[in-house]
């Protein structure tokens, strides 16, 4: 019987059990001292097996440690990122908020100067013309700055999760007319025809200021991207919801851009050609969603875009 019978088997089984438990009492000396050459080979094999298993186990432990380090590093980076985003949002909120008061002062003073420093108040008519020109430019820049700050405040509110909706009784027809009145100068400057189809009041309970903003953003886009073509705005009530439609006949939006047009910082055309932060539609989308409504776009390049807002009645 090879290896000295069951005694040898017991020995091997004992060593295997030890190896299984991660230990091994076989040493090189024991292997060399083993009188039975077959048993010596078996012991050698077991020793190699133990070393292989120990090596694999060490490798696994090291890999697990490395994974833990990576996981901890990832968690730290995520936390850093969360803190950075929080700091950015807080900065944005404070900056936008703090800018509102000086902007109001600037806007009031620009309007006041334009109203009071009319040519007949300034003796030199040439100087008066220059003054008027500069004051007009000042006013336009203040308006631009104001629009940017308002947009900044919106994004900060949305990212911080409080859109501040205060619903109350609103007539959408009034909202649309108010928005168009505000754009009156711009409409005339661009020589654009605006057709309004709002024959009846459309009353419901929404946040007037925010719905005003949705219409403002949609109309401002129609002016920006409408290529000077007529713009149509309509308001109507259906059974369960109110519908506002803003349609332009301008550059339009390619199919693949339409899906992302309501995302933040998105423009279907190159940013350098158009001012603003590229957040208008995203803000509109967020407000409409928060109001329980829907917003969608139908558009074809070079034919124009139709934005439809549905608000629950």
């Amino acid at each position: 019987m090879p290896w000295g019978g069951s005694k040898a088997t017991d020995r091997i089984l004992m060593h295997l059990a030890e190896i299984g438990a991660g230990r091994c009492t076989i040493t090189d000396d024991i292997v060399v001292a083993e009188p039975d050459p077959e048993m010596s080979q078996v012991l050698m094999g077991l020793l190699v097996l133990h070393e292989d298993l120990s090596y694999a186990s060490r490798q696994r432990t090291e890999a697990e440690m490395a994974l833990r380090v990576v996981a901890e590093e990832r968690e730290r980076l995520l936390e850093d990122r969360r803190q950075a985003v929080e700091a950015r949002d807080q900065f944005l909120a404070v900056a936008a908020h703090e800018l509102r008061t000086p902007l109001t002062t600037l806007s009031l003073l620009a309007d006041h100067l334009i109203a009071t420093q009319t040519p007949n108040r300034v003796a030199d008519s040439g100087a008066a013309e220059i003054l008027k020109h500069h004051l007009g430019r000042l006013k336009r820049q203040v308006e631009r700055l104001t629009a940017l700050v308002v947009e900044m405040l919106d994004i900060s509110r949305i990212t911080r999760g409080h859109l501040d909706l205060v619903p109350g009784p609103v007539d959408l027809r009034d909202v649309v007319h108010e928005v168009l009145d505000r754009f009156d100068l711009e409409i005339r400057r661009r020589d654009v025809t605006v057709k309004v189809d709002a024959p009846d009041p459309v009353r419901g309970t929404w946040d007037a200021a925010h719905i005003d903003q949705v219409v403002t953003n949609l109309f401002s886009n129609a002016l920006k991207y409408g290529a000077g073509q007529p713009i149509e705005v309509s308001v109507r009530a259906e059974t369960s919801h109110a519908v506002i439609v803003v349609r332009d006949h301008g550059v339009g939006i390619p199919d693949d851009e339409q899906r992302k047009i309501f995302g933040p910082f998105t423009r279907a055309v190159a940013a350098k050609h158009h001012e603003g932060l590229g957040l208008g539609l995203w803000v509109a989308y967020q407000i409409v969603q928060a109001s329980g409504g829907r917003i969608k776009v139908d558009s074809r390049p070079e034919e124009g875009s139709t934005f439809t807002v549905e608000l629950p009645l």
């Binding site: 000086p102 309007d111 006041h112 109203a115």
Partner: protein, 117 residues
């Protein structure tokens, strides 16, 4: 009456309103404004800032409402604060003029109260 601790804004409001022929009393400190009202001033409108050191706009409004002689004076709150998160919506019976606003918004608002007074 204008109550706003921002000197430049307060003065701009005074200039714009005065140019339209309104008689304007302006205060940087709500407590002083309240004292002036208690002494018998009766403006047709109070333009009130909210976030001010010392007496805030909220405290001013509470004190005004607690005084039967003053509670009927209309207040338009001029603010950059958020409606809900800053508690602007908790103010009762006031119109809100959100900053930034332009002259025509200001004058339209003021004219409405002047006509009603």
């Amino acid at each position: 009456m204008i109550i706003d601790d921002d000197d430049d804004l307060r003065e701009a409001l005074v200039d714009v309103m005065s140019a339209q022929g309104y008689e304007v009393a302006a205060f940087a400190d709500a407590r002083v404004a309240l004292a002036a009202l208690e002494e018998g001033r009766t403006p047709f409108l109070i333009l009130l800032d909210l976030m001010m050191p010392g007496m805030s706009g909220w405290e001013f409004r509470a004190a005004q409402l607690a005084n039967p002689k003053l509670l009927s004076i209309p207040v338009v709150v001029v603010t950059a604060a958020n409606m809900v998160s800053d508690g602007v919506h908790t103010l009762s019976d006031v119109e809100i003029l959100r900053k930034p606003f332009d002259v025509s918004t200001l004058l339209t608002t003021a004219a409405r109260y002047a006509a009603a007074s």
